[in-house]
Every structure is written in C-alpha cells, then in structure tokens.
C-alpha cells in the first residue's frame, strides 16, 4: 500500500464484498496453479539432470562471481553511457521538433523517425561492419554504446515532447505575460515541469537500453552476457548460467523500475498534479 493514490486507485472504484470474495478465490487458485507450474519445471530440470551438482557448484567459487561482476560492470558502464548520450540526443531532437522554423523541425522529425524505426542490431552492424570500411575505427565500447544510444534517442525525444505538451498552456502564458522570453519560459517554467511527467518513461527506456547492451557479443565487448557465454563453454552448463544471468538482469531492471516509482511518487508529493481548468 503506497501513501499516494496509485493509478489503480484512480481508475477503479473500491471493490464491494462480493468482488473481494471473488478476488480472494482467484488468488488462491492462481497460487496453486503457480505452485504446480514451478513443481513441473523443477521436476523437468531434475529429470534432464540440470540440477546435478556439476552444473551449479562453480557458483560457490568467488572467481566465478568476480568474472560475472566485471561483466556486469561493463554492462552498466555501457548502458549508463548510452543512456546519457540518448537523453542528450533526445533533448536536442525534441527542441528541434518543437521549433516553429520548418528546417530544424523537419530534420528533427526525420531523425526521430529514423532512430525509432531502425532495429538496434542493424545500427550495431553499421557501427561494427560499415564504419570500419569507411576508415572510422572506434573501440568495442563505442560500437555497442553509440548504436544503443541512437536507437533509444528518438523514443526519448518523443517522451520529452509528450512531457512538454502535458504542461498546461497557462504556465507558458503566465511566464510570457510577465515579459519572460520564450527561451527563458521553456527552461525555467515548462521543462522543469515536463521532467516529472517524463521520468517514468525515461527509466523504462533505460531498461530497454540495458537490455539492448546484450547485443555486445556482436562487437565482442565483454559485457555480462559475453561473460556468461564464456562460463557456459568452460563449464558446459547452459541452463544454470543463463538462469543466474537472467536473474541478475531482472534484479537490476526491477530496481530501476522501483526507483522510477519512487521518484514519480516523490515528485507528486512536492508538486501536486497540475489543476487543469
């Protein structure tokens, strides 16, 4: 139970007694179903010999974890760098798209549509295969980071734009009527308010960037996924390693989503939702 009102509270009315009973019954049935499913999966693994000690014992060694953690650090470094670049590019594209002058606007629209439409993997191949042929050589880190950043930038630009458009028009009018220039109005009044609408989708996009960095194997950048592949070959243990790595990715992304929830809630506390009249 959170302090503020969640979207669910706002969308649905409080359940009555019959609904509450039905919800309780469904919960019990679902839990039983889930239990059966887990049992079946574990039994299947056991039958296939996936639970044998040799597939799991190397996780007791610190060296295994250190090996994975260096990969995780590389993943985080690439994802964070990509995110910062993507946010910067997205901001520039958003500013471009909101210009009255058609030239920057059309350039921004084209850039946004391009980056949103091209698959990340294709961009990675471009940086990995095409750029070197053109004589441009950048390290493996940038070969994964730049494509991930570019591929996220268009979506971030649109998120920014949606946030800016969600700020009530009266805020702009009030600033202009006080003699503030359009630029000053944007940076001091509109954008600071847009940010709070944007943060949840920004963090959601960060999760996608993080997942996109698993393409790092294409450019042989030693991220978490790449390290996992090495472990799999050296221990001949596909299922256990993938399971552990999946759990690591889930935990990080879960933490990011929690962070997003918390930030959204804190912003809603300090600034009550704008009254739209």
């Amino acid at each position: 139970m959170s302090g503020g009102t969640s979207i669910r509270d706002r969308l649905y009315e409080q359940p009555g007694p019959r609904t509450r009973r039905r919800v309780a019954a469904f919960t019990v049935v679902a839990l039983i179903g889930l239990g059966i499913l887990i049992y079946l999966i574990v039994r299947q693994f056991a039958e296939q010999g996936q639970l044998e000690v040799r597939y799991w014992d190397f996780f007791l060694k610190w060296s295994t974890w250190r090996f994975l953690l260096t990969g995780l650090l590389s993943t985080l470094r690439a994802a964070l760098t990509a995110a910062v670049i993507a946010i910067a590019l997205g901001f520039v594209m958003m500013r471009g798209k909101l210009q009255r002058n058609p030239v920057p606007r059309w350039i921004a629209v084209a850039a946004i549509e391009f980056t949103r439409g091209v698959p990340t993997l294709l961009l990675i191949y471009f940086f990995f295969l095409v750029l070197p042929r053109m004589g441009v050589n950048i390290g493996a880190f940038w070969r994964i980071t730049l494509p991930c950043a570019i591929s996220a930038s268009g979506i971030i630009a649109e998120a920014f734009r949606a946030g800016v458009n969600a700020v009530p028009k009266g805020q702009t009018e009030a600033a202009l009527s006080l003699g503030m220039s359009p630029l000053l109005t944007f940076y001091r009044v509109v954008f600071p308010q847009a940010i709070r609408f944007v943060i949840p989708s920004l963090i959601a996009e960060l999760v996608i960037v993080l997942k996109d960095t698993t393409f790092a194997y294409v450019v042989s950048y030693a991220d978490l996924m790449q390290k996992a592949k090495v472990l799999i070959t050296s221990h001949d243990s596909l299922v256990s390693v993938y399971l552990v790595v999946a759990v690591i990715y889930i935990l990080i992304n879960y933490a990011l989503n929690k962070l997003s929830d918390r930030m959204a809630r804190r912003m809603n506390r300090t600034v009550a939702p704008a009254k739209v009249l």
Binding site: Q171, S177, L178, G179, M180, L184, K275, L277
Partner: protein
C-alpha cells in the same frame, strides 16, 4: 487646438481590431480607448469575445487586422520589444497559473530577477512586501497546490505587481473560485483600483463592476454593443441586448 499632454495619451488603445478563429469572426472591428488610471470592466455572455479581447492587449492572442497601442507605443509583434512591453502589462488569469513547480516566493521573484535583473535579495524583499499586502505573506514558502484558490489568485496578482506594471488585465479572475473566496480577491482588486491602477477587467461579478469601474463595455457576438457609465448601464441600459443580458443573469 489643444496641446496633448502626456496624460492625454491613452494607456491602452485598440483601433479597428479584427480577429477570426477559422470561420468564426470573434472580434469585429473593435475600437476601444482606456485612459490612464481608468478601470474598464468588460461584460457579456460567454463566447462574446470578451476574454479574447483582453488577451489581445498583450498579444497572447494575435489579431488579423487593426492596431493596438500601449502607452503611446504600438504593440510589437515579437521578440525583445514584445517581451519588454508585456513586462509592463500585468495579467491575471482565470486559472491563476502560478508556476506549479516552485514556491510562491520563487514565483514572485522569477520574472523580476531574470527579466529585470533585480538583485535576488531585493526581489525577495519586494515580493514579501507584496505578498503581505495581498494577505498571503505566511504562504510564501509553500508551493501553489498547497494554497486555496483565493490565496493562489491573490499571490498571482502580487506576482504581476512585482513587475511594476503600468496597467493590469484581469481575465475572469474569480470565475474558478469557490464563492467564499471571491470576496478576498475582489477586495485586493478594489484596493488596486483605488490606488489609480489602470485596469481592464473581464468579469461576471456585476456588483463589483458597478462599484469599482469607471466604464462598462458590453460585448456580444464579437462586437462592442454598449459603452456606458456603470450607473447608467446597470439601471437603464441603452441597448436591447444589454438589457436582455442583465435580465438573464438576474435569474
């Protein structure tokens, strides 16, 4: 031949102003002159163009033809001159429009410090003085959402005053307020009028209009239908449409 003195120059002058929203002719050849220190109230049914007229004066609405003059200068169409002119015209909105992400005090000092380059400490002192004057000094460190509607509107008036405007525009300043808060806002406005502020007020508060205004403009269908003294307008309007309107709002 009389010599024109500075006080003869109207504070606000509209000459044959026309505006269309698509096929809708919202302002039909409006001419209006507001003297310095004069309080003009614009009333009329909804959709009559009165809010639009008010908003054209600081170019929050553009016009299609005609001219708008403010204190002897033609209203510029854009850029630094327009911003400079706007900073001399205070505007109060129906929905208050205090900046939602900053404290009331920061609302007050943002424009003076960033547009006029007033030193921060000076701007704060002046802001506190103005907030005290409109009776919300104790709310200075809260964000707008924590204030009542009446408090927000009084703070919004104070924010406009912080720029030392030569004239104030009020676009239905009490229409979004709960009835018990209308009085506190009208009191602040009455005070301002007494001090000689030039004011253009779009309102539905007829008693206030009668008490405070020097002149009443009645608009209907995008035209000024009647211009009269408040006394004459409310007791025996000259036009049929004004009479009908007054009849209709008296239930």
């Amino acid at each position: 031949m009389s010599i024109q003195t500075a006080s003869d120059v109207p504070m606000i002058e509209l000459k044959n102003v026309n505006k269309h929203f698509g096929s809708l002719h919202v302002l039909k050849d409006i001419s209006l002159s507001v003297k310095k220190g004069e309080v003009v109230v614009i009333i009329g049914p909804s959709g009559s163009g009165k809010s639009t007229l008010c908003r054209t004066i600081n170019r929050l609405e553009t016009i299609d033809s005609g001219e708008i003059w403010f204190d002897g200068a033609k209203l510029p169409e854009e850029g630094r001159e327009l911003a400079n002119l706007r900073s001399q015209i205070g505007m109060v909105f129906q929905s208050f429009n205090l900046f939602a992400h900053m404290s009331v005090l920061d609302n007050m000092t943002l424009a003076p410090t960033s547009v006029r380059r007033v030193p921060k400490a000076e701007a704060r002192a002046e802001a506190m003085r103005l907030l005290e004057r409109v009776g919300v000094g104790d709310q200075a460190h809260k964000v707008p959402a924590e204030l009542s509607g009446g408090q927000q509107q009084r703070a919004a008036i104070a924010r406009a005053l912080a720029m030392h405007p030569k004239a104030m525009l009020f676009d239905e300043p009490t229409s979004a307020l709960d009835p018990e808060m209308i009085g506190e806002v009208l009191n602040v406005m009455t005070e301002l009028a007494r001090e000689g502020m030039t004011m253009v007020i779009v309102t539905h508060e007829m008693n206030f209009a009668r008490r405070v205004s020097d002149r009443v403009i009645f608009m209907d269908g995008g035209s000024i239908v009647e211009e009269n003294t408040p006394e004459a307008f409310f007791s025996h309007p000259r036009t049929r449409r004004a009479a009908d309107f007054l009849q209709s709002i008296q239930k």
